[in-house]
């Protein structure tokens, strides 16, 4: 029998666990929300998931997501969950759902859309959640998830 060392991720004292991200999306999610220097960020990718086969997970020390950050995470996948941890306890679970509109978190891929020329808050009407299809409120272009650039 071979000896092996099992590395465990330290439990969060205060912060947020983003769980059930689609596999491979953790780095994208981190790019959306950024991270503050000095605080521990733990990223798990392609972890086994009983429900979905594989998943990604992020633990953010000393950080709770704001509404805009949650809206960006929601774009990535339908099963993502957020748990807010305070003093090692889960104090809240936040649903990560795409509403009827995605506002101010993504740019329109249409170069001749006015939102890419004047300083405007972008708005997209959600036509389909999974796979994501939205219509730009301004230029009316139908945009897929792959085309949507989250800012």
């Amino acid at each position: 029998m071979t000896d092996h060392t099992e590395y465990r991720v330290t439990a969060l004292r205060d912060g947020t666990v983003i769980d059930h991200l689609p596999p491979g999306m953790a780095l994208k999610a981190l790019e959306f929300i950024g991270h503050e220097g000095g605080n521990i960020v733990t990223v798990g990718m392609y972890l086994d998931s009983r429900k979905y086969g594989k998943k990604d997970l992020i633990k953010l020390e000393n950080k709770e997501l704001n509404e805009a950050e949650i809206a960006k995470i929601a774009i990535l996948g339908p099963h993502t969950t957020l748990a807010i941890i305070r003093d090692y306890r889960v104090v809240a679970k936040v649903a990560v759902n795409i509403g009827d509109e995605i506002a101010a978190v993504a740019t329109c891929p249409n170069p001749t859309c006015i939102t890419n020329h004047d300083d405007l808050r972008t708005r997209f009407h959600v036509m389909n959640r999974h796979p994501l299809r939205v219509r730009c409120h301004y230029c009316e272009r139908v945009v897929t998830e792959a085309e949507l650039e989250v800012t």
């Binding site: 249409n110 001749t112 006015i114 004047d118 300083d119 409120h137 301004y138 230029c139 272009r141 139908v142």
Partner: protein
């Protein structure tokens, strides 16, 4: 209330007062039919019901028909017009945002019509002011007043819209008149033939919409035999100004020329429409063909725009 409008739906007429006309997506079928009905009454209605009203016509892109027909419409209604027909003479040339332009102009007028090369500009204008804003064309997106006059023309020429077989010919990719009309025809029971070079096909999102609402359509590259048996052939200009690559334009610019030689093949019912201006896609030898409707279509633009202005400014309440 004039006698001619006594039997129209008064609540619906009131609902149009102050309303923006930006995209066909904003209108239900009943509202479109209501607009067409009011426009029909304006054929014989000549009273100046908007005395003292000022329309601001902000044309950031060249236009002849749309601009002049709006000017004619407001003047026939007893109002007047101010504005510009070239963005070079506006403060936009100095870097002003559209929002600021609209906030300034709203103090000078009662309603605004805007044409702008960027898609979504009319929506931004509408959200910048309480004044009613009418979209006179926003980039390659929508041209709702053209659509209303096209529908009006179709109904006037054919006495109906449902049940017609309608062909679209030419630039189906960039042509906003086509996009708006196809989008709006999704409310009706029609059959479509889409005739274009492969590079100028109707955008996928519109083809998907046709599929999703159950409109039967087929795509073709040649006019014949696709145009045989159609009720309407809606021809369009290949628009040089919309091509990112001029070489692509050169390849397709003269690909379609409709002339009298097609008449024996297409059947006697074919009405030919065109939003104008035409270049070479319709031969002048068709102009005296009784069902060449494009000049009547253009003239209908004033009637429809008179009706629209009267509605959004409360002129027939």
């Amino acid at each position: 209330m004039h006698e001619l409008f006594k039997d129209i739906d008064q609540d619906r007429a009131r609902s149009f007062k102050g309303r923006d006309i930006i995209s066909p997506l904003d209108f239900e079928k009943d509202e479109i039919l209501f607009l067409l009905d009011v426009a029909r009454r304006f054929e014989t209605f000549r009273e100046p019901v908007l005395p003292g009203c000022i329309l601001a016509a902000l044309f950031f892109e060249p236009s002849t028909r749309t601009r002049l027909s709006f000017e004619s419409a407001i003047q026939r209604l007893g109002g007047s017009v101010l504005g510009f027909a070239d963005k070079g003479v506006s403060s936009v040339a100095k870097g002003e945002t559209l929002y600021d332009t609209i906030r300034v102009v709203e103090a000078y007028c009662d309603a605004i019509v805007i044409r702008h090369p960027l898609e979504g500009s009319a929506r931004v204008a509408a959200e910048s002011t309480e004044r009613p804003v009418i979209n006179g064309g926003d980039g390659a997106n929508q041209h709702p007043t053209q659509t209303l006059l096209d529908l009006y023309t179709i109904r006037k020429e054919k006495d109906r819209i449902d049940g017609l077989r309608i062909g679209f010919l030419g630039d189906l990719k960039y042509g906003r008149a086509v996009h708006s009309l196809v989008d709006t025809l999704c409310h009706f029971d029609v059959e479509m033939k889409l005739i274009s070079p492969k590079t100028l096909r109707l955008p996928a999102q519109l083809r998907e919409k046709l599929d999703s609402v159950g409109i039967s359509f087929s795509e073709h590259e040649e006019i014949l035999p696709a145009a045989a048996g159609l009720d309407i052939l809606y021809t369009t200009r290949i628009q040089k100004e919309r091509f990112p690559d001029l070489l692509d334009y050169e390849r397709v610019k003269s690909v379609y020329q409709v002339d009298r030689t097609i008449l024996p093949e297409v059947g006697e019912e074919l009405t030919i429409m065109h939003p104008l201006p035409r270049v070479t896609e319709i031969s002048p030898d068709l102009d005296d063909y009784p069902r060449a409707a494009y000049f009547r279509q253009s003239a209908n633009g004033v009637t429809v725009r008179r009706a629209l202005l009267a509605l959004v400014l409360g002129g027939i309440l």
